[in-house]
Point group: D3
Chain length 326, copies 6
């Protein structure tokens, strides 16, 4: 497009100074990748909710998080990080599913997509989708057991439900069994809500995970928990998984398994900003379910927390980026 | 039903392991009572809002609290209480009104229903309905003046409105006058919001009630308030009444008289969990108004706080249960 | 329950004279069945949406249709049929799923549930659920090829999607192949909306089905279409399947695949009332998706049209009922 | 106010050329009356819903109809009537209730308010409120039996409900008994929906009312029905009562007793515009329930149909106005 | 992207067989243009609402129409047109505004953007935005006075409002004055709603436009109106402008100036399908205001009617395409 | 109006004891002013949003804040201030715009309206409208540089956007340049959210403003911030401007530029109540955007915080009122 009138190189390349309601919605208004290798960090959607146990709709999560993420601008007011200056960030599109009705086949497709990024040294930041998708993401990313920072209302270490051991309440039990995560370097933050058995909590405890119930977070504050998480993880390659239901249902009504008494977005921001300078190998934000949202507050919170995670990744990537040129 | 395929004895007996969106919605997915006497604790609805002064709709409260209560599971993660193991809990249905347009006649029907339960030694847990319904419930339950833990944005000790002294702003003035509650063992928690006269606050004070304005709760924290309430009540038979508008309008938009600056659900949980081991004679949760709700957050909060109250009652009931066999 | 105060034999047996916002919500406020055999017509839910291709949520359909169906009363103003006098109608609860993530296993469970009813001579009226559930229902019901009256925006005779030939766009192709329906006695009414290929429409045509596109219905009117359907079906045992997306998205926003230009509820009523005195062997109403609904209009329309279908079934059942006593 | 900057004589006198989202919302943006006698036609609210049988909220009707009525402009595009040129139209405020919990006392207050207007020769146009309010309005207005044009989904000629014979399903039975209306000159239009008994329909029929079920309206069209109504009424003083639930639930979700298969707003407009030049003694529009509305479509329809009724009244008033000077 | 796993050439090139909730939302899921000249038909957004007079929000229209347009598939069921086979259709992005607070400067930017497309022989299909944007679009497109098919609730031939003669109620008065349209070959369809003066209707009439009030459309049916429009326009180059408020507020609550009594989407489809084989030089669909929408029905209707318009354009373009190769 | 039945002198004078859903909605249910001079404090609306940069709708703010403000009663429970006893408070209506599409012309009209009040010694309390309106308000009010207490998520000291230096992100940069505020006596509280450049924050800092980011407010608490603000301002004439987006998006979804991590309404109340006894010359509450609200929580919060501000103003006014008689 010759288009000297146009402010953009291409309409698929919106920028952050345009009016925020305009242009095609990509994650954070970054360009869509034309090649995998052009990205340092790859944002992508996992529009799949085939393993959830209650209210559906997270298949619509990536679309609406893209939409609300156009409200984000460049510089973090608290840390003054500008991730877009630190790393080449691209929207990689969504995982293209071809067997969406089958849990394990879909997991394979997620793994394959993430593996493509990993193969080209792109740091993945996935937007779900139900929480079961973290398992195939870990399979693609974790060459050896990684540390895990897991922020969620649920430990997700229960076992089979309705005959599937890959349901969205079980990924970290499976990841432990498959040697993808190191339970001794795993911290679960924000856990709460009733359960029918104590099986999941028991598994987390016996596997050696540090479980921070949300009451403890409210008592000690998110900064103290972040400090503990950083100390626990140390230099180990670490994966960060953020379940939007860690937030209180008021901050995240648009999710499948809401539990009252949760975190505020301010607490979530303090927690995430306390996790800088770790050796991130990937991250995700999951369980945004737009059909249950009101006023888009959940998608907005998802977008804004994904931005915080992006700052964490970009800072690390900038420090370690060596073999790539823009 | 022969039904070897069915997981349930009867479709009216859903269980807590079924997918939560399935089956007929009863309170907490407990069985519907077939006889009054089979229950230790009876959950029942009071779908009546004929004495409220502003926005209507709490007549729809029991139905939607039932609906959202299907999201509840068995074990309390904080206290590890499983109320369903401690007591036989049943859904008793709703109070069947026959004179719904008349305040006093309706109050009589509520009293009669609750009296049936009391007569068979069933501990009542009512889901309202507007707050005026607590007066007839107390009439059925309080054989002598009981202690009262009253969590609410409003003291509900004003006098007549629009010619009725039984409106939903007045039940605890009436209960004091009728000798149903002991004002010296009454604590009102979370009070806030403008008033046209100071008459209600003045009545509470002069009667000797302890009034904890919500600012004090925010300052001292809910645990301190709970401790004070427990000390005040001691061993006295006590009734617990929970008005959902004690929560901030953000946590409970679906109510008739919202007042900003209220409690969070986390504060409510801490407060309620601090009230264990009291000598409960009954309880209610009132003022959920689904037509004003958004995203069902109010009904969900109502269900989850009713679950917390159920844990309190079940623990006490288990300790005192003697004359009943399942 | 001794309960002389109670107007009901049991709280699980609400009646149609009670205030409609009160009591536990069963389909049309009929009693929950205690045995299968006590029913002439069995209303039951199929809370499953594991085979849909776009927007999810029909798993929540039965619960909300139950809720809105409490607005229904006894007598049809147009036909003066009172189905509750003509037949013993019961709520049979929901199909109890144990393998909800697997399409074919879930279909088996649906079939088994319906087969239980058929075995005891109960006429089934299912509330879905996605439209794929009609296939297992037909497997349970159609001992030989049945006629089919199929009201829908989509012919649902496409083939595999995402690797599954049992997705919700394909049940009537499968039913034809399995010999469950007689395509020469099949009429599809209300069809419209874009398609990526003409494959489904072509299959319907080549199989010999009568396809009434919605434009034809608007032109000729629903009475003419009903007349044609009755003539086509004659005395053949016939199954009636009603997809709520046959209604315009304004009348049914709460569905997964809305298509503009659809039927009004008045047209749907005229159409259904024109289908009296056929030899019904079963029926369903599917694709109500509460998470996408606004103001409950879809659930209300679903309940009201299910009531119309119930009138059709009850009238037939009353005429043919011989071997059962109440 | 000196206010040469202000376009208005007073901020309480907004005009129809101002931006429609601006200024204090009065009915149709007419001035608030300073004296009763200054008005030819008095619009007033009846914010009371104490006699309804199902979903509440019509007490909020007047406020929201005022709000949406600011979208109305002056000239009717179909009839070219400009009611504001034909008559002095004023907002009289709302009936000021002092006994809102008591059905009969509230009815007395409504009657007294309307009587004040009638006494000063002001033609009343009331905005409800539940439909029971038409009874006291008729008591104030009908010095002898008046003709009645009654547009509604329900005949409202049933008898007592929950012990009250003044509930909102019974006003026209009572009005017949009290000699306020002439059943032989009464036409009920749009009737539909299930009933538990045929008692109301039977009363209407046996009293001699003309009952036009909504199916007949759909078949013959609203113009034919209007013609019949005009012929039936002739020169008799006539009262027009419009229940918003005559509209289909899609056009009026915000009402207490929705019934599918109803009128469109276009049909309602044709019907009302067909009722010109009758001898109107008063009118009302009732049953708008904002808490159940979506996107304000019900309040908007209520405002726009109230405008159509206002055109009918203004035209008649202009023709007959003699004894008043502006 | 090497991406043999990916089904798409590029993530910016979604296709219509992917699950509809997945991938980045472009208009109709067509590729984003990389050069202007690669398109036969260019869909683009005009996210600007700076000249509307009442409720704002159409600046958000293009984003949400893109979102809902992903529900569209390829083949029109009524005409069997597949526009994607007939023409190279691209998403050109949005007009990039740099002076959004200034009406005339913004109009210039719209004109310049459209002129770029026209210069490269791309047939423009714009998605608004408020209706004032049609004026600059016509300036870019109409080299001589064009015929105009204008579907709308409002004639939009009023004059200045609040000091601007370019407000969204005036574009066709300006277009007449500027010689952009031939009023003798202009038809305005669906007009209705109150006005404060008859000035706009009078201008249309005196200029020689054919004004079809919505009552006439309801009476004669949309096919007859379409026939008349085709006869009026003949072979003259013609511009089609579709204001979503031509639909009834129930079909299009999400718009700034709703008027009851409007068209159904079925009527709109029949009308548009009746306008085939005209000599289109451009088209737009305007006034979708997502903040006022409920359940996305307006955006869905907008997307589906834009698809119908696209079919009209593609068919014509296919017939006339000569100088371009794909 | 003789009206002995009426409780009110006039229907335009509602009082605070009437049912809150009744009567015409004025701010806080105060009388509409008949003359400017009759008021000590003048509440007025500024229904204009022509300078905002993202989501529109604040033009609808005054109407809905009026609506929700009818929930307010007289006495502040925390301070026991009754502003209605301390000062004559009136609703002055809305600024009557005549050039709404032009930023600077509209600003002039706002200034002129406020100047009228100032000229008659009326203390102005404006309800916006977008935040740009504070600039013309200051022009009318600040005869010399005033101190400024500015509560907001954004510093609003950026420069031109889209060619206008008067956009809603810039008023306090302009006010500094115009000498309307004293930056050394300016405190900005609650600032947060991403920015594309640090230009605004840098301007605030270099101009000498005290900027309290929201993290600091969460850490130190609102009382400490209020104490600091009072010390900073001292006896200087001070203007208070409250942007509703200072609240978290959960408390104020209905605003144009939401930023997570914001204040709770409780924090806002503590903050405002900590600002008593300052030398207020005016105040505003801006950026309530009803089209983006859910459940009216934003309008309710806006009304309740406007009430808190009213208490501040009334107390000061009562102390200083000398030259006026009621």
């Amino acid at each position: 497009m010759t288009g000297q009138l146009l402010r953009y190189t291409s309409p698929s390349t919106p920028d952050q100074f345009a009016p925020r309601f305009s242009q095609i919605a990509t994650f954070m208004r970054v360009p869509v990748a034309e090649t995998i290798g052009e990205a340092d960090i790859g944002l992508f959607g996992v529009p799949w909710d085939g393993a959830l146990t209650n209210r559906p709709g997270t298949r619509h999560g990536p679309r609406e998080v893209r939409n609300q993420s156009t409200l984000m601008r460049a510089i973090n007011h608290a840390t003054r990080i500008n991730p877009f200056e630190l790393a080449r960030i691209r929207d990689m599109g969504d995982v293209p599913f071809t067997r969406m009705f089958e849990v394990e086949a879909s997991h394979d497709e997620i793994e394959a997509f993430a593996a493509m990024l990993v193969a080209e040294n792109v740091l993945p930041l996935a937007i779900g989708g139900d929480h079961s998708v973290t398992l195939p993401l870990l399979r693609a990313i974790a060459k050896e057991p990684v540390a895990l920072i897991h922020i969620d209302a649920h430990a997700d270490t229960t076992d089979s439900f309705q005959g599937s051991k890959f349901n969205h309440g079980a990924p970290f039990r499976r990841a432990t069994e498959e040697g993808l995560i190191d339970p001794a370097k795993t911290i679960q933050i924000g856990i709460r809500g009733t359960q029918n058995t104590s099986d999941g909590w028991d598994f987390s405890a016996s596997a050696g995970m540090r479980v921070v119930f949300c009451e403890e977070l409210h008592d000690r504050g998110p900064q103290a928990i972040a400090d503990e998480a950083r100390a626990l993880v140390g230099d180990t390659p670490v994966y960060l998984t953020y379940d939007i239901d860690s937030l209180d249902p008021v901050y995240a009504p648009g999710t499948g398994t809401p539990e009252i008494g949760g975190m505020t977005t301010h607490q979530a921001q303090v927690l995430l900003r306390g996790l800088r300078h770790l050796n991130y190998v990937g991250a995700d934000l999951v369980e945004v379910s737009p059909p249950f949202d009101t006023g888009n507050v959940t998608s907005l919170a998802g977008a804004a927390l994904a931005y915080e995670i992006l700052c964490l990744l970009a800072e690390v990537r900038a420090g370690s980026a060596t073999g790539k040129e823009d």
